[in-house]
Symmetry: C2
Subunit: 200 residues, 2 copies
Protein backbone atom coordinates (compact mmCIF):
# COMPACT_ATOMS: atom_id res chain seq x y z
CA UNK A 1 0.00 0.00 0.00
CA UNK A 2 1.25 3.49 -0.79
CA UNK A 3 1.59 5.84 2.12
CA UNK A 4 0.21 9.33 1.87
CA UNK A 5 2.25 12.42 2.66
CA UNK A 6 2.39 14.13 6.01
CA UNK A 7 1.19 17.66 5.41
CA UNK A 8 0.88 20.73 7.56
CA UNK A 9 -1.16 23.83 6.79
CA UNK A 10 -0.53 26.78 9.05
CA UNK A 11 -1.35 30.46 8.99
CA UNK A 12 1.52 32.76 9.83
CA UNK A 13 2.14 36.47 10.05
CA UNK A 14 4.71 38.13 7.82
CA UNK A 15 6.96 38.38 10.88
CA UNK A 16 6.76 34.68 11.66
CA UNK A 17 4.10 34.28 14.33
CA UNK A 18 1.31 31.72 14.16
CA UNK A 19 -0.50 32.99 17.24
CA UNK A 20 -0.54 36.38 18.90
CA UNK A 21 0.42 37.27 22.45
CA UNK A 22 -1.82 36.69 25.49
CA UNK A 23 -3.71 33.61 24.37
CA UNK A 24 -6.74 32.94 26.56
CA UNK A 25 -10.13 31.32 26.39
CA UNK A 26 -11.83 34.34 24.87
CA UNK A 27 -9.06 34.79 22.31
CA UNK A 28 -7.54 31.35 21.83
CA UNK A 29 -5.20 32.47 19.03
CA UNK A 30 -3.95 35.49 20.97
CA UNK A 31 -4.32 39.18 20.32
CA UNK A 32 -4.70 40.20 16.70
CA UNK A 33 -4.37 36.69 15.35
CA UNK A 34 -7.84 36.56 13.86
CA UNK A 35 -6.32 38.75 11.15
CA UNK A 36 -4.17 35.77 10.15
CA UNK A 37 -7.27 34.04 8.88
CA UNK A 38 -9.22 36.80 7.18
CA UNK A 39 -8.47 35.23 3.79
CA UNK A 40 -10.37 32.07 4.79
CA UNK A 41 -13.45 33.84 6.03
CA UNK A 42 -13.59 36.81 3.66
CA UNK A 43 -12.37 35.13 0.47
CA UNK A 44 -13.58 31.54 0.60
CA UNK A 45 -14.11 31.47 -3.16
CA UNK A 46 -10.78 32.97 -4.19
CA UNK A 47 -9.03 30.54 -1.84
CA UNK A 48 -11.33 27.57 -2.36
CA UNK A 49 -8.71 25.19 -3.66
CA UNK A 50 -6.32 25.92 -0.79
CA UNK A 51 -9.05 25.65 1.83
CA UNK A 52 -10.26 22.34 0.47
CA UNK A 53 -6.80 20.82 0.75
CA UNK A 54 -6.50 21.77 4.41
CA UNK A 55 -9.06 19.19 5.45
CA UNK A 56 -8.32 16.69 2.69
CA UNK A 57 -6.54 14.09 4.81
CA UNK A 58 -7.25 10.63 6.12
CA UNK A 59 -6.24 11.51 9.67
CA UNK A 60 -5.23 14.59 11.67
CA UNK A 61 -2.91 15.26 14.57
CA UNK A 62 -3.24 18.25 16.86
CA UNK A 63 -1.88 19.56 20.11
CA UNK A 64 -3.95 19.67 23.26
CA UNK A 65 -4.16 23.48 23.16
CA UNK A 66 -5.65 23.35 19.71
CA UNK A 67 -8.27 20.87 20.83
CA UNK A 68 -9.33 22.84 23.82
CA UNK A 69 -8.56 25.13 26.72
CA UNK A 70 -8.83 22.46 29.42
CA UNK A 71 -5.76 22.59 31.69
CA UNK A 72 -4.44 19.67 33.69
CA UNK A 73 -6.40 16.42 33.46
CA UNK A 74 -9.75 16.18 31.75
CA UNK A 75 -11.43 15.68 35.16
CA UNK A 76 -15.12 15.58 34.53
CA UNK A 77 -14.77 17.82 31.46
CA UNK A 78 -16.81 16.82 28.46
CA UNK A 79 -15.11 19.37 26.21
CA UNK A 80 -15.63 18.25 22.63
CA UNK A 81 -13.46 20.73 20.74
CA UNK A 82 -14.07 24.20 19.31
CA UNK A 83 -15.88 23.03 16.21
CA UNK A 84 -19.43 22.14 17.31
CA UNK A 85 -21.07 18.77 16.79
CA UNK A 86 -19.80 18.25 13.24
CA UNK A 87 -16.12 19.25 13.05
CA UNK A 88 -14.63 19.90 9.59
CA UNK A 89 -12.21 16.96 9.77
CA UNK A 90 -14.47 14.04 8.84
CA UNK A 91 -11.70 11.64 9.86
CA UNK A 92 -9.90 10.43 12.98
CA UNK A 93 -8.15 13.21 14.89
CA UNK A 94 -5.32 12.32 17.27
CA UNK A 95 -4.92 14.80 20.13
CA UNK A 96 -1.55 14.92 21.89
CA UNK A 97 -2.08 15.09 25.64
CA UNK A 98 -0.62 13.94 28.91
CA UNK A 99 -4.04 12.80 30.08
CA UNK A 100 -5.81 9.80 28.62
CA UNK A 101 -9.46 9.91 27.76
CA UNK A 102 -11.91 7.71 25.90
CA UNK A 103 -12.33 8.53 22.19
CA UNK A 104 -15.02 11.12 21.43
CA UNK A 105 -16.99 10.34 18.26
CA UNK A 106 -18.58 13.33 16.57
CA UNK A 107 -20.98 13.73 13.67
CA UNK A 108 -19.70 13.49 10.12
CA UNK A 109 -16.89 11.00 10.67
CA UNK A 110 -14.63 12.92 13.06
CA UNK A 111 -13.48 11.02 16.13
CA UNK A 112 -11.18 12.65 18.66
CA UNK A 113 -8.62 10.17 19.98
CA UNK A 114 -6.28 11.03 22.83
CA UNK A 115 -2.65 9.95 22.59
CA UNK A 116 -0.47 10.06 25.70
CA UNK A 117 2.73 8.39 24.48
CA UNK A 118 4.24 11.06 22.28
CA UNK A 119 4.40 12.46 18.77
CA UNK A 120 5.82 9.39 17.07
CA UNK A 121 3.12 7.17 18.50
CA UNK A 122 0.49 9.65 17.38
CA UNK A 123 2.03 9.66 13.90
CA UNK A 124 1.99 5.85 13.73
CA UNK A 125 -1.65 5.76 14.77
CA UNK A 126 -2.56 8.50 12.29
CA UNK A 127 -0.68 6.77 9.47
CA UNK A 128 -2.55 3.58 10.17
CA UNK A 129 -5.90 5.35 10.31
CA UNK A 130 -5.20 7.32 7.12
CA UNK A 131 -4.27 4.30 5.00
CA UNK A 132 -3.00 5.64 1.69
CA UNK A 133 -4.35 9.14 2.31
CA UNK A 134 -2.37 12.03 3.77
CA UNK A 135 -1.89 12.71 7.45
CA UNK A 136 -2.31 16.39 8.37
CA UNK A 137 -0.56 17.97 11.32
CA UNK A 138 -3.19 20.54 12.18
CA UNK A 139 -1.40 22.66 14.80
CA UNK A 140 -0.75 24.54 16.97
CA UNK A 141 2.72 25.98 16.73
CA UNK A 142 4.35 23.80 19.36
CA UNK A 143 3.01 20.64 17.79
CA UNK A 144 4.09 21.68 14.31
CA UNK A 145 7.53 22.65 15.60
CA UNK A 146 7.92 19.27 17.32
CA UNK A 147 7.08 17.43 14.10
CA UNK A 148 9.34 19.67 12.03
CA UNK A 149 12.21 19.11 14.46
CA UNK A 150 11.62 15.35 14.24
CA UNK A 151 11.70 15.48 10.43
CA UNK A 152 8.22 13.97 10.19
CA UNK A 153 6.56 16.51 7.91
CA UNK A 154 6.78 16.10 4.12
CA UNK A 155 4.93 19.19 2.94
CA UNK A 156 4.54 22.48 4.78
CA UNK A 157 1.95 24.87 3.42
CA UNK A 158 2.39 28.34 4.84
CA UNK A 159 -0.44 30.81 4.51
CA UNK A 160 1.33 34.11 5.07
CA UNK A 161 -1.02 36.87 6.12
CA UNK A 162 0.18 40.41 5.36
CA UNK A 163 0.04 41.43 9.00
CA UNK A 164 2.69 42.10 11.62
CA UNK A 165 1.87 40.58 15.02
CA UNK A 166 5.11 41.61 16.74
CA UNK A 167 4.90 38.90 19.40
CA UNK A 168 3.34 35.52 20.07
CA UNK A 169 4.13 31.92 19.19
CA UNK A 170 6.84 31.50 16.60
CA UNK A 171 6.84 28.84 13.94
CA UNK A 172 10.29 27.27 13.44
CA UNK A 173 11.37 28.01 17.03
CA UNK A 174 14.12 25.52 17.93
CA UNK A 175 13.48 23.23 14.97
CA UNK A 176 16.90 23.45 13.36
CA UNK A 177 16.85 23.72 9.61
CA UNK A 178 14.12 21.46 8.26
CA UNK A 179 15.37 21.60 4.66
CA UNK A 180 12.70 23.57 2.85
CA UNK A 181 12.17 23.94 -0.85
CA UNK A 182 9.39 26.16 -2.21
CA UNK A 183 7.42 24.26 -4.82
CA UNK A 184 4.33 26.42 -5.37
CA UNK A 185 3.16 29.94 -4.63
CA UNK A 186 -0.03 31.93 -5.13
CA UNK A 187 -1.67 34.93 -3.51
CA UNK A 188 -4.67 37.14 -3.04
CA UNK A 189 -4.56 40.60 -1.48
CA UNK A 190 -5.07 38.98 1.96
CA UNK A 191 -2.63 36.06 1.84
CA UNK A 192 0.39 34.52 0.18
CA UNK A 193 0.33 30.74 -0.05
CA UNK A 194 3.71 29.00 -0.18
CA UNK A 195 4.03 25.23 -0.37
CA UNK A 196 7.35 23.84 0.82
CA UNK A 197 8.68 20.35 0.30
CA UNK A 198 10.42 19.40 3.54
CA UNK A 199 13.37 17.12 3.95
CA UNK A 200 17.05 17.45 4.64
CA UNK B 1 7.17 66.03 -12.17
CA UNK B 2 6.03 62.60 -11.11
CA UNK B 3 7.70 61.12 -8.09
CA UNK B 4 8.95 57.58 -8.17
CA UNK B 5 8.07 54.99 -5.56
CA UNK B 6 10.10 54.22 -2.48
CA UNK B 7 11.02 50.58 -2.74
CA UNK B 8 12.83 48.16 -0.51
CA UNK B 9 14.27 44.79 -1.50
CA UNK B 10 15.36 42.61 1.36
CA UNK B 11 16.30 38.97 1.78
CA UNK B 12 14.70 37.23 4.73
CA UNK B 13 14.67 33.76 6.23
CA UNK B 14 11.44 31.83 6.47
CA UNK B 15 11.48 32.57 10.22
CA UNK B 16 11.78 36.32 9.74
CA UNK B 17 15.46 37.16 10.08
CA UNK B 18 17.35 39.34 7.63
CA UNK B 19 20.74 38.77 9.23
CA UNK B 20 22.08 35.94 11.33
CA UNK B 21 23.50 36.11 14.86
CA UNK B 22 27.03 37.28 15.68
CA UNK B 23 27.62 39.77 12.90
CA UNK B 24 31.28 40.74 12.60
CA UNK B 25 33.73 41.96 10.02
CA UNK B 26 34.48 38.50 8.63
CA UNK B 27 30.79 37.66 8.45
CA UNK B 28 28.95 40.97 8.10
CA UNK B 29 25.53 39.36 7.65
CA UNK B 30 25.94 37.06 10.64
CA UNK B 31 26.18 33.31 10.89
CA UNK B 32 24.42 31.34 8.19
CA UNK B 33 23.05 34.39 6.45
CA UNK B 34 24.94 33.82 3.22
CA UNK B 35 22.30 31.14 2.64
CA UNK B 36 19.72 33.92 2.37
CA UNK B 37 21.28 35.00 -0.88
CA UNK B 38 22.09 31.73 -2.62
CA UNK B 39 19.34 32.42 -5.17
CA UNK B 40 21.18 35.55 -6.36
CA UNK B 41 24.52 33.91 -6.78
CA UNK B 42 23.50 30.43 -7.90
CA UNK B 43 20.48 31.32 -10.02
CA UNK B 44 21.21 34.70 -11.60
CA UNK B 45 19.39 33.76 -14.79
CA UNK B 46 16.25 32.34 -13.20
CA UNK B 47 16.04 35.42 -10.99
CA UNK B 48 17.31 37.95 -13.52
CA UNK B 49 14.22 40.13 -13.57
CA UNK B 50 14.09 40.38 -9.79
CA UNK B 51 17.80 41.08 -9.48
CA UNK B 52 17.68 43.80 -12.09
CA UNK B 53 14.93 45.64 -10.21
CA UNK B 54 16.96 45.71 -7.00
CA UNK B 55 19.40 48.25 -8.41
CA UNK B 56 16.93 49.99 -10.73
CA UNK B 57 16.52 53.20 -8.73
CA UNK B 58 17.55 56.81 -9.05
CA UNK B 59 18.94 56.98 -5.52
CA UNK B 60 19.60 54.64 -2.60
CA UNK B 61 19.52 54.93 1.18
CA UNK B 62 21.43 52.61 3.47
CA UNK B 63 22.37 52.35 7.12
CA UNK B 64 25.91 52.89 8.30
CA UNK B 65 26.36 49.17 9.09
CA UNK B 66 25.49 48.27 5.55
CA UNK B 67 28.02 50.73 4.20
CA UNK B 68 30.84 49.54 6.37
CA UNK B 69 32.13 48.16 9.63
CA UNK B 70 33.71 51.41 10.83
CA UNK B 71 32.60 52.17 14.42
CA UNK B 72 32.47 55.61 15.97
CA UNK B 73 33.62 58.51 13.79
CA UNK B 74 35.26 57.98 10.44
CA UNK B 75 38.56 59.20 11.91
CA UNK B 76 41.14 58.82 9.22
CA UNK B 77 39.26 55.91 7.67
CA UNK B 78 39.02 55.91 3.92
CA UNK B 79 36.54 53.01 3.86
CA UNK B 80 34.76 53.10 0.52
CA UNK B 81 32.12 50.39 1.00
CA UNK B 82 32.07 46.65 0.44
CA UNK B 83 31.58 46.82 -3.28
CA UNK B 84 34.96 47.63 -4.80
CA UNK B 85 35.68 50.60 -7.03
CA UNK B 86 32.52 50.29 -9.13
CA UNK B 87 29.55 49.59 -6.82
CA UNK B 88 26.38 48.19 -8.39
CA UNK B 89 24.26 51.26 -7.58
CA UNK B 90 25.27 53.65 -10.38
CA UNK B 91 23.44 56.45 -8.60
CA UNK B 92 23.74 58.58 -5.45
CA UNK B 93 23.70 56.55 -2.23
CA UNK B 94 22.78 58.26 1.04
CA UNK B 95 24.38 56.66 4.08
CA UNK B 96 22.74 57.30 7.46
CA UNK B 97 25.40 58.06 10.04
CA UNK B 98 26.08 60.17 13.09
CA UNK B 99 29.39 61.25 11.67
CA UNK B 100 29.66 63.62 8.73
CA UNK B 101 32.09 62.98 5.92
CA UNK B 102 32.74 64.41 2.48
CA UNK B 103 30.96 62.60 -0.39
CA UNK B 104 32.89 59.70 -1.89
CA UNK B 105 32.52 59.44 -5.67
CA UNK B 106 33.07 55.99 -7.14
CA UNK B 107 33.29 54.65 -10.66
CA UNK B 108 30.14 54.07 -12.68
CA UNK B 109 28.01 56.84 -11.22
CA UNK B 110 27.78 55.81 -7.58
CA UNK B 111 28.51 58.53 -5.03
CA UNK B 112 28.32 57.82 -1.32
CA UNK B 113 26.84 60.76 0.57
CA UNK B 114 26.72 60.89 4.35
CA UNK B 115 23.58 62.15 6.05
CA UNK B 116 23.69 63.04 9.74
CA UNK B 117 20.26 64.60 10.29
CA UNK B 118 17.97 61.60 10.20
CA UNK B 119 15.91 59.34 8.00
CA UNK B 120 13.47 61.98 6.75
CA UNK B 121 16.28 64.25 5.65
CA UNK B 122 17.94 61.35 3.87
CA UNK B 123 14.67 60.58 2.12
CA UNK B 124 14.25 64.17 1.00
CA UNK B 125 17.76 64.21 -0.40
CA UNK B 126 17.26 60.86 -2.12
CA UNK B 127 13.94 61.96 -3.60
CA UNK B 128 15.55 65.05 -5.01
CA UNK B 129 18.47 63.10 -6.43
CA UNK B 130 16.19 60.44 -7.93
CA UNK B 131 13.94 62.85 -9.77
CA UNK B 132 11.08 60.80 -11.21
CA UNK B 133 12.85 57.51 -10.63
CA UNK B 134 12.39 55.27 -7.57
CA UNK B 135 14.25 55.62 -4.31
CA UNK B 136 15.45 52.28 -2.91
CA UNK B 137 15.96 51.68 0.80
CA UNK B 138 18.78 49.19 0.55
CA UNK B 139 19.08 48.02 4.17
CA UNK B 140 20.03 46.83 6.67
CA UNK B 141 17.26 45.66 8.93
CA UNK B 142 17.30 48.59 11.33
CA UNK B 143 17.16 51.10 8.53
CA UNK B 144 14.33 49.27 6.79
CA UNK B 145 12.44 48.98 10.08
CA UNK B 146 12.84 52.71 10.73
CA UNK B 147 11.45 53.57 7.32
CA UNK B 148 8.61 51.06 7.66
CA UNK B 149 7.71 52.48 11.08
CA UNK B 150 7.70 55.98 9.58
CA UNK B 151 5.39 54.89 6.78
CA UNK B 152 7.89 55.98 4.13
CA UNK B 153 8.12 52.79 2.05
CA UNK B 154 5.65 52.23 -0.80
CA UNK B 155 6.70 48.79 -2.01
CA UNK B 156 8.40 46.08 0.02
CA UNK B 157 9.88 43.19 -1.94
CA UNK B 158 10.67 40.26 0.30
CA UNK B 159 12.95 37.55 -1.00
CA UNK B 160 12.16 34.69 1.34
CA UNK B 161 14.90 32.09 1.45
CA UNK B 162 13.79 28.60 2.51
CA UNK B 163 16.16 28.55 5.46
CA UNK B 164 15.65 28.82 9.20
CA UNK B 165 18.19 31.10 10.90
CA UNK B 166 16.73 30.82 14.40
CA UNK B 167 18.23 34.10 15.61
CA UNK B 168 19.56 37.40 14.32
CA UNK B 169 18.10 40.69 13.20
CA UNK B 170 14.36 40.66 12.70
CA UNK B 171 12.55 42.52 10.00
CA UNK B 172 9.36 44.22 11.27
CA UNK B 173 10.69 44.54 14.84
CA UNK B 174 8.79 47.39 16.52
CA UNK B 175 7.36 48.77 13.29
CA UNK B 176 3.69 48.43 14.15
CA UNK B 177 1.50 47.19 11.34
CA UNK B 178 2.70 48.78 8.10
CA UNK B 179 -0.43 47.83 6.14
CA UNK B 180 0.82 45.25 3.68
CA UNK B 181 -0.91 43.87 0.63
CA UNK B 182 0.71 41.14 -1.47
CA UNK B 183 0.55 42.12 -5.12
CA UNK B 184 2.89 39.63 -6.82
CA UNK B 185 4.58 36.33 -6.04
CA UNK B 186 7.00 34.02 -7.78
CA UNK B 187 9.53 31.41 -6.78
CA UNK B 188 12.40 29.15 -7.62
CA UNK B 189 13.55 26.24 -5.47
CA UNK B 190 15.86 28.63 -3.57
CA UNK B 191 13.58 31.61 -2.97
CA UNK B 192 10.04 32.93 -2.83
CA UNK B 193 9.63 36.51 -4.03
CA UNK B 194 6.70 38.44 -2.57
CA UNK B 195 5.99 42.05 -3.50
CA UNK B 196 3.91 43.98 -0.97
CA UNK B 197 2.24 47.30 -1.49
CA UNK B 198 2.69 49.22 1.76
CA UNK B 199 0.33 51.77 3.24
CA UNK B 200 -2.13 51.93 6.07
Amino acid sequence: MNMGKVTCDIGISVDGFVAGPNQRLEEPLGEGAERLHRWMFEQPDANAEVIEKITDAGAFIMGRNMFGPVRGGWGGSDWRGWWGEEPPYHAPVFVLTHHGREPVPMKGGTTFNFVTDGIESAMAKAREAAGDRDVAVAGGAQTVNQYLAAGLIDELRLHIAPVVLGAGERLFADVGDPGLEPVAVSHTDLVTHVTYRVGR
